[in-house]
């Protein structure tokens, strides 16, 4: 991870940036590795701009909204009772967890490519062996069916942003324009990739990864040098808008009082 001298941690920045992507009235599931980041993002959105946003625990059915609810700690383990029970008003039957719309979800990945396809299954090592990841979980499903999704990468290197995945676990834009349509996929594919270095989205025409902003304190050059896949770099790359005082305040006082995101 690159150096971060800012008055916020990388997970805090990720939670705040991702939070801004969520719109009022939407329904989505935080998930992926270090799921406390997307869970914080969704709670922060509910408590700031999106009071009608609904959180469904990924692969469990707890439907939660933190507006006017007592504070509850943010915990690392996704399905920890404290995480799923906080703000819950209804519990979907297990048969129905995959019967509801998801406007968004979050994915971590071992590798991502230039069309937003991701690998969570296995990575070939230089010694010819392979490192096995945790598996698809529900990401092959979500990537196929959800309205849009956000990829958060804890490492931004040529090993994690690759030209060619060792295994395509979940589809993004496939091989480019027309891929999703030909396969009859639902939803719009990946909307955004965030890493400790910056924020990327996808060019509307080519559906290729495009640099949207670099985080305060990071450089475009270092980001590009550490990206192994094609990346569209506009002539002007703005800085990722820094967390506002209100965002940091709500995040630290109402969402993550225990400081899990600062560890």
């Amino acid at each position: 991870m690159p150096a971060n001298d800012m008055p916020w941690s990388w997970p805090e920045l990720a939670a705040i940036v991702l939070s801004r992507e969520l719109a009022d009235g939407e329904v989505g599931s935080p998930g992926g590795s270090r799921s406390e980041i997307p869970l914080a993002a969704a709670r922060l959105a509910q408590l700031t701009r999106a009071p009608n946003l609904a959180i469904i625990t990924s692969a469990a059915g707890f439907v939660a909204n933190m507006v006017d609810k007592p504070w509850s700690p943010l915990v690392s383990s996704t399905m920890d009772w404290r995480n799923v029970y906080a703000g819950t008003e209804a519990v979907l039957p297990s048969s129905g967890v995959f019967h509801t719309r998801r406007d968004w979800f979050f994915a971590g990945a071992l590798q991502v490519d230039g069309h937003g396809n991701i690998n969570l299954t296995r990575v070939r090592l230089k010694d010819g062996g392979e490192m096995r990841g945790p598996g698809a979980a529900g990401l092959a499903y979500s990537a196929t069916m959800a309205q849009r999704y956000f990829i958060y990468m804890h490492e931004h290197s040529r090993r994690s942003f690759v030209q060619r995945l060792d295994y395509r676990t979940a589809i993004g834009f496939g091989d480019g324009p027309g891929s999703r349509e030909a396969l009859g996929l639902r939803g719009g594919g990946p909307a955004l990739v965030i890493s400790p270095r910056g924020v990327m989205d996808f060019d509307e025409r080519t559906l290729r990864l495009r640099l949207r902003s670099v985080h305060p304190g990071q450089s475009v050059e270092a980001l590009v040098a550490n990206t192994g896949c094609e990346l569209i770099v506009p002539s002007v790359v703005p800085s990722t808008p820094a967390p506002s005082e209100q965002e940091l305040d709500v995040l630290r006082r109402q969402v993550d009082r225990g400081g899990v995101l600062r560890r």
Partner: protein
Amino acid sequence: MTGRTSKKADAHAALADLRDGAVVAIGGSLFHNKPMRLVREVARRGARDLIVVAVTQASIDVDLLVAAGCVAEVRVPYLGLEHHGLALNFRRRAADGRVKVWDCDETQVIAGMEAAAKNLPSGWTKTGVGTDLPNSNPDLKPVADPITGEPMIAVPAIRPDMALLHATRGDQWGNLAYAGYPFSDVLIAEATRRGGGKVIASVDEVVPASTFTADPFLADIAHILVDAVVEAPWGAHPCSSHGNYQYDDAYLAHYQQSARDGEDAMRRWLAEHVHAPESHEAYLDRFLTPSRLAALRRDIYARQ
């Protein structure tokens, strides 16, 4: 920051989106959890050409809409008035072709609704293989299983434009709780919402949202699946609110007698029971009394 948006609505406003020709799913089963207050409102509006889906079973709900001339097609695995006899208005209009019948079994409708809930093109079932169902209903497509090659039936996704449900309790955010069985209401809500349709629920009581936050397992249907909550005390009448109050057998018998007496008698019944009452409250005060309500409650647990 503005707060959350309430989903409480009156029946008229909740049904404003109902267009002629819509696919309307009705919840409950037989004489139970039928959203009769909403059904009467649909008939009052003079909706036309509806395709009515009920799963698993329908009775006065669909027969009344047929009698009121609202229905073009019926997709119901069982339509009858149980111990009161067959659904006579339906039978009359099916016989002379005014209403089209989509022959089906419960599990075929469920397969189509599950496909919609999952956002898939079709659902697969064994049901109907070797019967006349795929002959009289061309939507039920005979296919071979790709693994074993055995005969199967594929049912295209059934995506209602609107669902009408009745629950015992609900809160302003749209969480719904059933005192008895929710029948297929959860699936109906899932299939309707997943395909972009509207889910309208009447409830006997609107309760504080704290009821559900205190015990979230109470909610049979989560607010994310519901578009509007219509407060309608005794809103299932003359059907039962399952586990809350019983169906009104005398009222049902009177309905069935009118149906038996022919279309003129049915028109008079509709005028009196559907069109004349200016509001749900007027309906309740006209056709029910406190002691009758007490009897309908008492019957729930009656041990003789």
